[in-house]
Each structure stands twice: as structure tokens, then as C-alpha cells.
Amino acid sequence: MTAQRIDLPQGTLDLLILRTLGLQPQHGWAISERIQQISSDVLRVQQGSLYPALHRLERRGWIKARWGTSDNNRRAKYYELTKSGRRQLEAEKVAWDKLTAAVAQVLGTA
């Protein structure tokens, strides 16, 4: 464990899930693995909170679920982005960039 893990700021989990699913359809476990991997193990997703988020996103119509077969030949629930999910991802990315830039600016000038 090289770096210290940090908990996700409120509201960013949705963005991360959408971003992860933007690459390819995934099942829940793979999503959490993927987030940790890409963030070089810095971000820790509380696994228990991943699934409620997935179900919430599904209800909003940003992702949809379908049952498929996993790499080890098991039945797994795969999630993929819908058209409106892709739009939402773009919108949230823009908002996030603005936010981080603004925060960085504040921190830089202070």
C-alpha cells in the first residue's frame, strides 16, 4: 500500500461510475476494481455504497442493466451507458473541470 487512500467526495461517485462505463459495459465488481486501478489505488470506493448508486443511476435512465456472462463464465449483471447517460457524463465532466480549476485557482492564489 504505497499511497494513503482517500474517501470519495460527496457526489463524485456517480461521475466515476459514468466515466468507467463510458469505456465499456461492466459489472459492479469490475467497476469498483477499475476505479481503484485507474486512480492508482488512491480512491477507495465503499463497496456497499456502489450498488445503491448503480440502482439510482438506472432509475434515472442514465445506465441500463442486462444479465450477461462474466469472464469466468458466471452470470453477472452488466451495466452500460444510455444515450442520456452519455450526455450526463459530458455535462458532469465539464462541471467537474470547472470546479477543480476554480478550486485550484483559489488555492494557488491564496
Binding site: H27, W29, E33, P52, R56, G61, R74, R75, A76
Partner: protein, 889 residues
């Protein structure tokens, strides 16, 4: 939003599979995590432990997933409904009373709404109903009935048709009765002679065959007939081969060219058959412009509206009034849509409004009862609510649970009420029987989609109404209150008692109001029934024969037919005597203008008018009208001898003053006796009423039928047995003379009198019925509240008795409590009711208000019923056994 709801609903419907999917999804995750840890070198047991720690609480995650899917809200609703059903099932007595009360109120509302729907709301079944207009003459006379809906003369119609530009087509129709003969027994049916464009204007084509061609409106080509679906099915057995066949209409052969669809009903213009309209040269004489008999229909041109077309018609009418002063002076024209024309009859509109208000009040009382019952139950379920809120149920949740129960009850009542309305409508339709017009209206009264939607809305409204008070009461009460109050048989909080009392006061006031309202209608009707009719109306059977064949245009033939039928009737076994006349008492007889000898001739407009009857010699004897002076007609009073007449007492009094009218002369202005023919008055008879609701006796003139024959004949027989048992023999006596004549309106005289009320009695019966229902419900209300009060105070009563209180004192105490409520309710009700007689009198043209005494019975009834409702619980209080009461609970 919609998708969100759908997602929730689907989640709810597929709850089980959603649950297993969730299980499977999470299990998959955990297994992968375990595998991952195992690959990292941990033992299987350690890997499992590690995975589950990393995951966190599994059940919590599941719960959050369910929340995320939005299951909670709907699931709670389901829970509430299930729980509510269980609670209601557990107290079947309460549930039955509640649902039955509501069902009664809702059934009454839906039934009356169906009437309103039929007469005021439903559009006539024609294409673009708002564009079909009825064009009428406007009668300038002050006393004319519905002056702006006066029929039109043939010449006016032709001028209107030629000169107007607002309409794409204009058609005239002459509504009259036709006699169908041949095959089955002769039958008289309502029908119309119509212009060929009539069906086109209505936008309804025959379901079979075709409508009339324009050339069929010419003399000699007009023997075609279009049948209604009903007539086709009933008289011709729905024979599909009937097109092109000949049937006998008014004794002549008509070719069946079309059959209208079953949906084509215009209740204001009821017709079972249509034949082409032709104008005779007589119709087209300049003088005939004053003979207004036609109804005119027109379809608006695209872009034209009712107002503009009315303005154009008015201009045309004014021009015609200028050109034809003697017939058209001051006459105008009006344009009304088909629906507006039919609903313009103010009395039926006010009547339905009053009925709707009455049933609305009944439902309001039912709701009050339920609110009271719920309040009482609330405190009975006190412990339940307290425990539930102690266990963590929010106040809002408790209130919602209670509200769900209320809605369950109201929808239960609504469903049962809708069923009741089907029955109610059927019962009501049978009552619409006072004339053919009413019978045509009755067909339009049925429960349709709109009525069912109304039922749904009313049930929801009722549920909210009676659920509101108890629900708010629960929501406002905190848990600690619950523990303080009502733990052991003490009395309910003062707030709830006040609420309940207020509700009962409202109920009583409302039922009193209704009782007074009903009293106003019933009283007027009772007055009528008590009033003397002027003859012996019992054991009389009457019938109408109206030979329409051309051969009966001859007055000699009319007389022959009339006398032959009378001969047959007199010889019938069971008949005491028989008579004939052109009109019956209580059947709105026609008027005639006349001149009295010795009185200076006045302008034709100012001539006096009175009812007249052409009667057979046996008329007075058969009806048992008292002959006060002079003689009755004899068979020798014919057209060949000097004319004679009999007048009634009212006539003698108004036109001869104190002098003896016998031997004096009067002249009747009948169409066929224009020449100077003075009739000698030979007799005076008692006054006979002409319609139900008549206040003052009207002058009447009787002349011999033999001297004034007509096509329209009424026959009256005095029977020795039950009159209707002779119906068949009466028919056959007519057919023995001419088998092609329809015998219609076979009614007992008592029935004729009843029918002449034109539904006023039905109105009185319904108002009375609803008021009674309201009173019963209100008394159940007060009974319930007082019983509850006594039950709650059982312990207190026991202690009082044990300490030596007089049982009679307790009785007085409870009754005093109850009667205070009854008194306040009655007082408020009386106050409001004072405005009622004026309101009713202002709304109904023919309403007569006799005296303030009609208000008196209602408060007495309410006070008496209230006292009875107090007495039962009060007696129970008196009989409380102190020992039992103290051991109570």
C-alpha cells in the same frame, strides 16, 4: 417523470424477481472479491471475512438499493392498503355500516347525475352537434309559452330557406303521429314529415338503405318511409328484406327506403318513422302564413356561428314582418343549437339542479356520519396508535395509514354505489311515463362512462371529505398525549367531543333543510290530491283513437265511426256506461274563443277563450259530472238541428253574472263553423279540473260531438270491475268497427290525473325520499355520538349511581346533553330554511306557496327523531350496574 414512475411500478410488480436479482448481483460481487483475496494468498475463510468487511453491511446495502429504486414509497402504500384492509376486515360491523352509508349516498348522486347527463350534458347524436341549429319563430305575444321556440309556417320556411346565407342547408319537419296497420295490431307511433335534406343536416345516414331524394318532396312521389332502428326491430322483427317493401302508414302504402342507426335519437324530436314533407296548395296560401306547425333545422356554413346566423335570421324575419303585416307583424326569428334548444326548458333544468343539490346534501350527511364514526374509532384505537408511534411510526405515517383506510372505505362505497346507480336508473326510468315525451326522455337516462367517472370523482371527494378531520386529528396528536389521555376509561378529550358535536349539528341542520325543501314540493302535491276533481274519477278506463286515413277527413265518416265504437263499448260485458269526447279532463284540453250573446263584439284579439269539449250524450252520466241545471245532450242534438251547448258553473258565473244562462246564446269560433251559428245554452254542470295543479276553476263549454265531429276521439267507459281488465275488450270494440285503427293511451282516469302532473309528483317523491334518507342518516349520527358518550362514561355513571344518584336523573342528564345538540342543529336548520320557499318559488314557474305552515312539520320531525335517538343511549346510562361499571376494564 413518467419513466421514473414506470420504473418504480415495475420494480414493485416484479418485486420478487428484483429481490433475487439483487441477491445474485451482490453475491457475485462478494465471490469475486473472495477470489481476489484468495489470489492474494489468503486462506478461504480469511478471504471471506476480509471481503465481507470491505463490503460493509450487506442488508444495509440492500435496503439502500431498494430505496434507490424508489420502492419504498409504493411499497409503503401497498403496506398501508394491506394493513387497512386487515383493520377493516377485523371490524366488519363498522365497515359494513360505513360502506353501505356511502354506497347509498353515492348511488343517489350517480342516479341523479345520469338524469342531468341525459338532459343537460350529453350532446345529441348528430355529426358536429354544435353546428346543427333549430330555427324558430319568435312569438311577440306576452303570454306565449316559450315564445322564442315557436314553430314556423310553410311560407316563412320557404322564404327563410331562399333568403338566408348562414346555412349550408335548411330543412323543415312536421312532427305528428302516424298509424301503422297491416299484419300486427294497428299501432300509433311518433313520426315526422321531413324535407329531404333533414338527414343530411343531422349528418346521420341510414344504417341500411338511403335517405330521401329531393324529388320525393313532391306530391305523388312522397310515399317513401325511413324507419327507426327501434321500430324496425320491434314491429318488423329486424327483417333485412324489408327495404323496398310496402307498409301501411295511415292506411296508405309506403315504400321502405331506409332504416336509421339505433343511436339516432333526438329526445326532443322523438320520431319512429320519417316520411317526405310536401306542401299542399292550401299550405302555400298567403293566409296560411299564420299557421305555424313546422320545426326548422339548419346546418351552419363553415366559418359561420350561432350569433351571426341569428342576426341574419332576425333581419329576414323583420323584412317578412314588414311585407306580411296581417300574419307576421312583430314576429321574429331565433337560432339555437340543437342542444341549447332542448335544454332551454327552464323547469327541467331547475328540477334537476334541485335534485342534484338534494343528493349532494345526502352525501354530505353520509360523509359527516363517517367522519364521526372515524373519530369515535380513533379513540377506540388509541392504544394501537400509541403503541405504533412508541415503536417509531411517524405521525405523518400514522395519518397516512388512517387516510388510506378512509379512501378504501370510500372506494368500496363508490363501487357498491355504482352498482346501486344501475338499479336506481332502471327504477327511475320506469317513472318517466307521464307522456310520450317523457318516455322518449327516459331512454336517454343511463349510466355511461361519464357517469362512472363522476362516481369515481365523488368517491374520492367523499373519502377526502370525511377522512380529513380524523386524519388531521391524529396528525396533531403527539405520542405523549396518547399516553396521558384515554389510558383508562376516562372521557375523550374535549376537542374531539366538540368536533363530533359540531358534525352532528351540521347534519341535523342539513336534514332539516332538506325536509323543508321536500315539504314544499310534497305539500303542493298533497293539496292537489285532496282537492276535488269535479267528477268520479274511479272505475273509469279511457283510450284515444285518432283515425288519420284520408277517408276520415269527412266529418260524416268521423261521426259514424265514433257512434259505432260507442255502440260496441256500451254492449261490452262489465261496462256500466260509455262516452266519447274530443278531450278528457286533466288532459290539457284545447281552448276556443267565443262570443256571448248580448255582449258587444270586441276586437278579435280580446275575445275571451275557454276550454271546450265535444262530447257524446252519455258523457255527464259516465263521468258523473253533476248536472246543476237544464238537460244533458241527447242523440237528437246533431248538426241538423239548432245548435246547443252546456256550460260549467265557472262559465255561468264569469259571463252571465247572476243571470240564468239557460236559453241564452253563445257562439264558438271553431274553424268549421265560421258562419253565424249561435248555440243555445241548455244546461249548467259542475266545474271539472283540466290539469293537476289548477288553482281556480276555468270556464268550460260542452257541445255535442254529433254537431262538431273531429278525427281525434277519446273514449271513456265506466266499468263494474277493475278498469284495466277491460283494456283488451276496449281495443277489440274499436277494431270491430275498423281493424286498421290504433288504440292508444289506454289509461285509467286516475292515471290520467296522475300523468297530468307531468313529473311534479315524481319530483315530490324523489325530494321526499332523499330528505327521509338524510333524516335517517342524521339520526344514526346522533344516536352513534350519544351511545358513544354513554359508553365512555359508563364508569362515571357507575360511580354516580353508587354514590346515590337517581337513575332518572342520569336519564335526564344524557337526554339534556343530546337534545342540546339537536336543538342547536334544528335552530340553524330552521334559520336557513326560511329562505327556501322564496328560492323555490323564484325557480319554478308553476310553484305556488301556500303558507309558512309547510315549515312547521320539519322541525317537529327532526326534534322527535332526535329525542328517540337520545332516548336509547340514555336508558342504557340509567341501567348501568355500578358493580359492573367499576370493574369495567
Amino acid at each position: 417523470m413518467l419513466r421514473d414512475l414506470w420504473f418504480r411500478v415495475r420494480a414493485l410488480l416484479r418485486r420478487r424477481s428484483v429481490e433475487t436479482e439483487l441477491d445474485e448481483e451482490l453475491r457475485f460481487h462478494l465471490e469475486r472479491q473472495v477470489e481476489k483475496c484468495e489470489q492474494g494468498g489468503l486462506s478461504r475463510g480469511e478471504a471471506q471475512r476480509r471481503a465481507s468487511v470491505e463490503f460493509g453491511g450487506l442488508e444495509l446495502a440492500k435496503e439502500e438499493c431498494r430505496d434507490a429504486r424508489g420502492l419504498r414509497l409504493l411499497e409503503n402504500l401497498f403496506q398501508d392498503v394491506r394493513y387497512g384492509m386487515r383493520v377493516l376486515r377485523k371490524s366488519p360491523g363498522f365497515t359494513t355500516v360505513a360502506i353501505l352509508t356511502l354506497a347509498l349516498g353515492i348511488a343517489a348522486n350517480t342516479t341523479i347525475f345520469s338524469v342531468v347527463n341525459a338532459f343537460l350534458l350529453r350532446k345529441p347524436p348528430v355529426r358536429d352537434p354544435d353546428r346543427v341549429m333549430v330555427v324558430s319563430s319568435v312569438n311577440p305575444a306576452k303570454d306565449a309559452y316559450a315564445p322564442d321556440r315557436t314553430p314556423v309556417s310553410a311560407l316563412d320556411f320557404l322564404d327563410w330557406q331562399a333568403q338566408s346565407h348562414s346555412f349550408s342547408a335548411m330543412a323543415a319537419a312536421d312532427f305528428e303521429d302516424f298509424t301503422l296497420s297491416g299484419g300486427l295490431a294497428p299501432q300509433r307511433v311518433a313520426g315526422a314529415r321531413v324535407s329531404s335534406s333533414f338527414f343530411q343536416i343531422m349528418g346521420v345516414a341510414p344504417a341500411r338503405g338511403q335517405a330521401f331524394l329531393p324529388e320525393e318532396n313532391e306530391w305523388g312521389h312522397d310515399h317513401s318511409v325511413v324507419l327507426s332502428d327501434e321500430l324496425w326491430k320491434e314491429r318488423f322483427g329486424g327483417d333485412s328484406q324489408i327495404l323496398g317493401r310496402l307498409i301501411k302508414v295511415n292506411g296508405q302504402n309506403y315504400n321502405v327506403v331506409g332504416i336509421m342507426p339505433g343511436t339516432f335519437h333526438l329526445w326532443d324530436f322523438e320520431a319512429q318513422l320519417w316520411v317526405p314533407l310536401t306542401f299542399s296548395s292550401d299550405d302555400l296560401r298567403p293566409r296560411s302564413r299564420s299557421s305555424r306547425l313546422l320545426r326548422v333545422f339548419a346546418r351552419l356554413k363553415p366559418g359561420m356561428d350561432e350569433r351571426r346566423s341569428a342576426a341574419e335570421m332576425q333581419t329576414i324575419a323583420q323584412r317578412l314582418a314588414q311585407e306580411h303585416k296581417d300574419t307576421n307583424e312583430a314576429w321574429g326569428a331565433s337560432v339555437k343549437s340543437l342542444q341549447r334548444y332542448s335544454t332551454a326548458d327552464s323547469n327541467s333544468e331547475t328540477a334537476t339542479t334541485f335534485l342534484m343539490a338534494a343528493v349532494g346534501f345526502v352525501l354530505l350527511i353520509a360523509c359527516t356520519n363517517l367522519a364521526n364514526l372515524m373519530l369515535a374509532r380513533n379513540s377506540a384505537r388509541h392504544r394501537e396508535f400509541t403503541i405504533r408511534s412508541a415503536l417509531g411510526a411517524g405521525r405523518f405515517r400514522l395519518a397516512r395509514q388512517l387516510f388510506t383506510e378512509c379512501l378504501l372505505l370510500s372506494f368500496g362505497g363508490g363501487a357498491l354505489g355504482a352498482l346501486g346507480a344501475f338499479w336506481g336508473v332502471r327504477a327511475l326510468r320506469v317513472q318517466f311515463n307521464w307522456n310520450e315525451y317523457a318516455q322518449a326522455m327516459a331512454k336517454e337516462v343511463y349510466v355511461d362512462g361519464r357517469a362512472l367517472f363522476f362516481t369515481l370523482a365523488v368517491s374520492l371527494g367523499a373519502g377526502i371529505l370525511f377522512g380529513l378531520v380524523p386524519t388531521i386529528q391524529i396528525a396533531r396528536r403527539s405520542a405523549s398525549d396518547g399516553l396521558k389521555e384515554g389510558g383508562r376509561g376516562t372521557t375523550a378529550g374535549p376537542e374531539r367531543q366538540r368536533l363530533q358535536r359540531m358534525l352532528v349539528v351540521g347534519q341535523l341542520a342539513l336534514s332539516l333543510f332538506l325536509l323543508v325543501g321536500a315539504g314544499l314540493f310534497v305539500e303542493g302535491f298533497l293539496e292537489e290530491i285532496r282537492a276535488s276533481v269535479g267528477f268520479n274519477s274511479h272505475h273509469l278506463l279511457t283510450a284515444t283513437v285518432w283515425p288519420r286515413d284520408l277517408k276520415y277527413l269527412d266529418s260524416q265518416r268521423q261521426r259514424q265511426f265514433f257512434e259505432n265504437v260507442l255502440q260496441h263499448l256500451t254492449n261490452l260485458p262489465g261496462v256500466q256506461s260509455a262516452a266519447g269526447a274530443t278531450d278528457l279532463p286533466y288532459n290539457f284540453p284545447g281552448d276556443v274563443s267565443f262570443t256571448v250573446e248580448g255582449h258587444p263584439g270586441t276586437k278579435p284579439d280580446d275575445q275571451p277563450k275557454c276550454a271546450w269539449f265535444a262530447v257524446s250524450p252519455g258523457y255527464l252520466e259516465t263521468l258523473q259530472v253533476p248536472l246543476l241545471q237544464g238537460r244533458e245532450f241527447t242523440p237528437s242534438d246533431t248538426a241538423d238541428v239548432p245548435p246547443v251547448a252546456i256550460v260549467n258553473k265557472a262559465f255561468a258565473k264569469s259571463f252571465f253574472g247572476g243571470e240564468n244562462p239557460i236559453g241564452r246564446h253563445i257562439r264558438l269560433d271553431l274553424d268549421d263553423h265560421k258562419e253565424n251559428s249561435w248555440s243555445e245554452v241548455v244546461g249548467i254542470v259542475g266545474n271539472v279540473k283540466e290539469f293537476l295543479g289548477q288553482v281556480k276553476p276555468r270556464p268550460q263549454i260542452f257541445v255535442p260531438f254529433a254537431a262538431h265531429p273531429s278525427q281525434l276521439m277519446r273514449f271513456i267507459v265506466r266499468t263494474r270491475t277493475e278498469p284495466t281488465s277491460l283494456s283488451d275488450s276496449l281495443r277489440h270494440a274499436v277494431w270491430a268497427v275498423d281493424p286498421d285503427q290504433a288504440v292508444t293511451e289506454i289509461r285509467t282516469m286516475d292515471r290520467v290525473i296522475e300523468d297530468s302532473a307531468s313529473g311534479d309528483n315524481l319530483m315530490a317523491e324523489m325530494m321526499g325520499g332523499f330528505a327521509l334518507l338524510a333524516l335517517v342518516m342524521a339520526s344514526i349520527g346522533i344516536f352513534g355520538v350519544l351511545s358513544y358518550l354513554v359508553e365512555q362514561r359508563t364508569q362515571e355513571m357507575g360511580i354516580r349511581l353508587a354514590l346515590g344518584a337517581e337513575p332518572a336523573g342520569l336519564l335526564r342528564f344524557v337526554i339534556r346533553k343530546g337534545m342540546a345538540i339537536v336543538g342547536v342543529g334544528t335552530g340553524i336548520g330552521v334559520l336557513f330554511s326560511l329562505a327556501l320557499p322564496k328560492l323555490v318559488a323564484a325557480s319554478f314557474d308553476n310553484f305556488r306557496f301556500h303558507s309558512l305552515w309547510v315549515l312547521a312539520p320539519a322541525p317537529i320531525v327532526v326534534l322527535t327523531v332526535g329525542l328517540a335517538a337520545c332516548y336509547v343511549p340514555a336508558r342504557r346510562a340509567m341501567r348501568v350496574d355500578p358493580m359492573v361499571a367499576l370493574r369495567y376494564e
